[in-house]
Each structure stands twice: as structure tokens, then as C-alpha cells.
């Protein structure tokens, strides 16, 4: 029986992973765009990205574009795999195979 991923299951982290997973592998989202897409606040989003980064699910890259700092978040291969398993488990629960 598959288990839900506790790290991904938190609502905001689920949205972050869903947003990053919707992009081609290796393509990330800028912090500001991710904030807009998930409707999160700066602090909240930063904290949850850190949790996902510690688990190895996302990679965080910081760079300067002109004089402005820019943070880009990208789902790792491990993150994509964990997200796919999490979604499969949710679908099993909905289908009544678990829960």
C-alpha cells in the first residue's frame, strides 16, 4: 500500500510541487512568479521552499539579473518522482483502493 508523502502533502508545498512539476524537467520558476501562482506570502513561501530543498525535492538557485537578486526554484528528479507517487496515492484514495 502506497503512503502519502508527508513533506509534499502540506497544502502550500503541494501547490509548489504541482507548479514546478507542470514545467519541463530542468525548467524552474522565479520566486516572485511562484508566489503569485501559489498565492503565498514571501516568508511562508521561503520557509516551505526550504523544507522542500532540505528533502532534495527542489533546487534553489540565486543569481543577479542586472542589480536585482533573482531566486529560481526547480523541481529535482527526486522531487518529480515523489510528486508522481503522491498523486498516484491520492488517485488510489479517490478510487477507494485506500483510506
Amino acid at each position: 500500500m502506497a503512503e502519502l508523502d508527508d513533506i509534499i502533502h502540506q497544502p502550500l508545498r503541494l501547490k509548489i510541487m504541482a507548479a514546478l512539476n507542470a514545467l519541463p524537467a530542468g525548467v524552474g520558476l522565479e520566486f516572485a512568479r511562484l508566489k503569485k501562482l501559489t498565492g503565498a506570502t514571501d516568508g511562508n513561501l521561503g520557509a516551505h521552499i526550504e523544507t522542500l530543498a532540505k528533502a532534495g525535492y527542489v533546487q534553489v538557485d540565486k543569481a543577479f539579473v542586472g542589480k536585482k537578486p533573482q531566486t529560481t526554484v526547480t523541481a529535482t528528479a527526486a522531487g518529480r518522482g515523489a510528486f508522481a507517487r503522491h498523486v498516484a496515492t491520492l488517485q488510489e484514495i479517490i478510487a477507494g483502493k485506500q483510506g
Partner: protein, 183 residues
């Protein structure tokens, strides 16, 4: 473990986020196309106002430049996001839209003034269709430009209509592009 209702809510959250990401990508690419067309429409109308006899040549040149512009936007977007947004099908679609517009103008025996109003209204029809599928911004931009074009057609006399169109078509597309970039 969660129940099926909670799992369905989580899946709905995922679907909504994926929809937002896709819309955001469409808006990113479209905003560049709108900004490009805002400048081209402004230039085309002003040039037509200054040298009315050469209007047809200006617009043929502008449509040619726009095809090159679409290819450049596609290449730029692909280098950033690794997503192919324009290919030969889009070019063919664009050419079919233009060909049908020429067909209508020819068989309708449109006057230059009617053509000035027809082309933006015709193109904005496709924006409004895009709005039904990809996001309300297209719908708002299309409806606004159509309304302003009709106001100009009925109330702005003579060749001054081209100045009006430079502002509402060129300006409208530019503002629409900037709005989409922020959405």
C-alpha cells in the same frame, strides 16, 4: 491517512495550480506578441496617415515583420523555458487568418476606411476566442479594442481615423501586453 474527500480536494488544488501555470506561460508569450503588435499597429497607422497612398505596402511590410517577430519570440521563449511555442502550424494558421481577411475585403468591396475598421475587429475576434479558452485577459483586450474601433469608425471623420486607430489599436495592444506580463 486522509479520506477520499480530502484527496479529491488535494487533486483539485493540483489541477488549479497546473491551470494557473499554463495560463501564466501563455500570458508570458502572448504579452511579447501583443507588445510587438502594439508597436507595429502604431507605426502602420501613423505611416498610413502620413502617406495614405502607400498604406497597402506598409501593411504588407508590417505583416512580414510580424512573422519574423513571432519566430524571434518563439526562439527566445524556447531558450528560456525549453517549450516550443511557435511552429509551422502557427504560421499556417496566421496566414489562413490573413488570407480570409483579404478574401472578405476583396469580395466585400470595402473602402479604405472600412478596411481600417475591419482588420482590428477581425483580428480581435480571434483574441476573444482565445479568451474563451486561455484566460479572460484576451477577452477584455479584444472587446475593448473592438468597442474603441467602432467608436472611431462612427465618430472620427476622414483620415483622422488612422490617428485614432494608432492610439487605440497600438496603445491598446501595448497596454494589454503590459497587463498580461503582470498577470
Amino acid at each position: 491517512m486522509i479520506d477520499s474527500k480530502q484527496a479529491a480536494d488535494a487533486m483539485a488544488d493540483i489541477d488549479d495550480t497546473v491551470r494557473r501555470v499554463r495560463q501564466s506561460l501563455i500570458y508570458q508569450v502572448s504579452s511579447l506578441a501583443l507588445l510587438m503588435w502594439g508597436v507595429l499597429a502604431f507605426v502602420g497607422n501613423i505611416a498610413g496617415w502620413l502617406w495614405p497612398r502607400y498604406g497597402l505596402y506598409f501593411w504588407i511590410s508590417i505583416y512580414t515583420v510580424s512573422i519574423v517577430g513571432f519566430l524571434a519570440i518563439g526562439a527566445y521563449h524556447r531558450s528560456r523555458n525549453r517549450i516550443r511555442v511557435f511552429d509551422i502550424r502557427y504560421l499556417l494558421t496566421f496566414l489562413l487568418i490573413v488570407a480570409f481577411g483579404i478574401f472578405v475585403c476583396y469580395f466585400g468591396h470595402f473602402t479604405p476606411r472600412q478596411q481600417t475598421a475591419f482588420w482590428p475587429i477581425y483580428i480581435m475576434l480571434f483574441y476573444m476566442m482565445a479568451g474563451v479558452w486561455f484566460g479572460y485577459a484576451f477577452l477584455v483586450i479584444g472587446a475593448t479594442i473592438i468597442a474603441l474601433t467602432l467608436i472611431g469608425y462612427f465618430y472620427i471623420p476622414g483620415i483622422s481615423l488612422l490617428l485614432w486607430m494608432a492610439v487605440v489599436n497600438g496603445g491598446g495592444l501595448t497596454l494589454g501586453g503590459l497587463w498580461m506580463r503582470r498577470s
